[in-house]
C-alpha cells in the first residue's frame, strides 16, 4: 500500500499536479481532525460562544418576522448542513432585516443572511451555495478559533453558577465571559476572517451544495451578481470590508471547480419555482406612480 502511494505521488509530481491536488486534500484531513477533537465540553463551549456571538450579530440586525421565509431557509440550510462533516450541530438559519448584502456564520451552527442578499438570488441552488459557504465556516471553526483567541476563553465555563442562565439567558457563560465574546465578535465581524478561510469556504460550500443535489454553480452565480453591484452603492460596504473582492473569489472558485470537474453536476436541481414562490413575499408592492414621482 505504502509503495503504491509513493508511486502515485511520484506520478503526480511527474504530471505537475502536486500543489493543486495535495493542497486540496488538506481540507478533508483538517475536517477529520476536527471531528475527532470535539468533546462534549468543547461542544458546550462552542455553543455558548456561538450564542453570544449570534446575540451580538442579531443586535445589529434583527431576524425578519416572515415565518414562511425563515422556515424555507431553515429547511434548505439544514439539508445542506446534513451533507457536511458536522450534521449533528443545532443548526439555526435566519434572514435578517437589512437591505445591504451580506451573510454571516457563528460558532455552534448559526447562519444569517440579509434580506438584501436573498433578494439578489434567483433560485434555491444559489441559496444553497451561499449557505454552504457559511456552513463551512462553522464546520471548520473559523470564527470559533478567532473568538477563543481574542477573548482568551480558557476560563469561559467557570462562571456557570453565577451565569446568565439565572437571568433567563440560554447560556452557561457569566456576564464577564459573555461581554468578552461580544467584544471579540464586534471586532472580528467588522474586520473579517483570514482571506484563505473565505476561499476555503467558497470551495467547500460549492461541494456541500452539490452533495445536497443542487446545481453547484449557484455560489459562483451569486458572486457574479455581486460583481455587478456597484461598490459605490454602499450595499456591500461590510461584505467588501470583510471578504476578498468578488473578482478574486470568482477566479479562485472557477479554477477549482474546473479542476474538480463540477460540470458533471451542472444538471442538478435549481429550485427556481419554489424559491420565487417563497421569496416574493419579501418584495413590497410597487409604489403608486404618483408617489414614486414625488
Amino acid at each position: 500500500m505504502k509503495r503504491r502511494a509513493v508511486y502515485l505521488f511520484a506520478g503526480a509530481l511527474a504530471l505537475g499536479l502536486p500543489t493543486a491536488v495535495f493542497a486540496g486534500l488538506d481540507l478533508g484531513s483538517l475536517i477529520s481532525t476536527i471531528k475527532q477533537a470535539v468533546t462534549p465540553a468543547d461542544l458546550q463551549q462552542e455553543e455558548d460562544i456561538g450564542a453570544a456571538a449570534a446575540a451580538t450579530l442579531l443586535g445589529a440586525s434583527k431576524p425578519i418576522t416572515n415565518a414562511a421565509v425563515q422556515d424555507y431557509v431553515n429547511k434548505v440550510g439544514l439539508w445542506v448542513a446534513l451533507q457536511s462533516d458536522r450534521p449533528d450541530l443545532p443548526w439555526h438559519f435566519a434572514v435578517v432585516d437589512s437591505d445591504d448584502i451580506d451573510a454571516f456564520a457563528a460558532p455552534g451552527g448559526y447562519v444569517f443572511l440579509t434580506r438584501g442578499l436573498l433578494l439578489h438570488m434567483h433560485n434555491e441552488a444559489e441559496l444553497a451555495g451561499v449557505l454552504g459557504h457559511e456552513i463551512t465556516h462553522v464546520v471548520l471553526k473559523h470564527h470559533l478559533k478567532e473568538l477563543q483567541r481574542a477573548a482568551r476563553l480558557e476560563l469561559v465555563s467557570q462562571g456557570a453558577q453565577a451565569g446568565l442562565a439565572e437571568k433567563g439567558y440560554n447560556s452557561n457563560l457569566d456576564q464577564q465571559a459573555f461581554d468578552k465574546i461580544s467584544n471579540a465578535t464586534r471586532n472580528l465581524y467588522a474586520t473579517g476572517l483570514d482571506k484563505d478561510d473565505e476561499f476555503d469556504a467558497d470551495r467547500a460550500g460549492v461541494v456541500l451544495a452539490a452533495r445536497a443535489g443542487y446545481d453547484p454553480y449557484g455560489l459562483l452565480a451569486v458572486l457574479q451578481t455581486l460583481q455587478g453591484v456597484d461598490p459605490k452603492s454602499g450595499k456591500m460596504q461590510l461584505l467588501l470590508a470583510t471578504h476578498p473582492a468578488p473578482a478574486d473569489r470568482i477566479a479562485a472558485l472557477s479554477a477549482a471547480m474546473e479542476a474538480g470537474h463540477m460540470d458533471k453536476y451542472g444538471n442538478q436541481a435549481e429550485g427556481q419555482e419554489r424559491f420565487i414562490d417563497v421569496v416574493k413575499q419579501l418584495v413590497p408592492a410597487k409604489p403608486a406612480p404618483a408617489a414614486a414621482s414625488k
Binding site: 486540496g24 486534500l25 450564542a51 446575540a55 450579530l57 442579531l58 445589529a60 440586525s61 434583527k62 425578519i64 422556515d71 429547511k75 434548505v76 439539508w79 450534521p87 443545532p90 443548526w91 435578517v96 432585516d97 437589512s98 445591504d100 448559526y110 433578494l119 439578489h120 434567483h122 434555491e124 447560556s171 461580544s182 464586534r186 465581524y189 467588522a190 470551495r203 452533495r211 445536497a212 443535489g213 443542487y214 452565480a221 457574479q224 451578481t225 460583481q227 455587478g228 453591484v229 456597484d230 452603492s233 454602499g234 461590510l238 470590508a241 470583510t242 470568482i250 477566479a251 477549482a256 471547480m257 479542476a259 451542472g266 442538478q268 429550485g271 416574493k280 413575499q281 418584495v283 413590497p284
Partner: protein
Amino acid sequence: MRRPLFIGALLLLVLGVVQASSGGTMAQTVTTAKMNDGPHSDAKAIGSVPVNTSLTIIERHGGWYHVRLADGQTGWLPMTNLRLNYGNARGSSSGSSSSGFFSLFESGRSGAAGTTATTGVRGLNTGDISNAKPDPQAVTELNQWAAKPPEARQFADQLPAKAVKVDYLPKVKP
C-alpha cells in the same frame, strides 16, 4: 418521438421571447468566447464572440449563460467568460435594465413583508457591527424556525434534490 421535441423547442422559444421582452441582464465578455448551441462543453459550436462584446443574459443553466447578442443571435457561453456590468446585476438596484421579478423589490426598497419598515433602506455596515448591542432573546427565538432532519430530507425529496457523493475541491491557482 419527433413531436415532443418539437413542442419542447417551441416552448423554449416562447419562454425565450417572454424572457427577452422582460429585459435582461447586461454583461460583457472578458475573453474571446466560444458559443455553443447548448449548456455543455460537447454541444455544437456555433460561433465565437470577441472579447469586450456587450450582450444580454437570458438565463443560466449550470456553468453556462444563455445569451443574446446585439444582432439577435443566441447561444450559450461559459459563465466565467462574462462579467456583469455595474448596475446591471441580475436583480440589482441601480440599473435601468435590471431584470424581471427582482427589480420589483428595488423600486419599493423599504418595508419587505414581515417588517414594518417605512423609513427607507435598512443598512448593515461595519459601524453597525462595531456598535451592536447583544440581543440574546433574538437567539432564543430562532428555535421557532429551526428545521428537523426528517423535515429537511422530505423538503429536498419534493424538489427533488438527491444527495450525491462529491469530493472536496482542490485549491488551484487561478
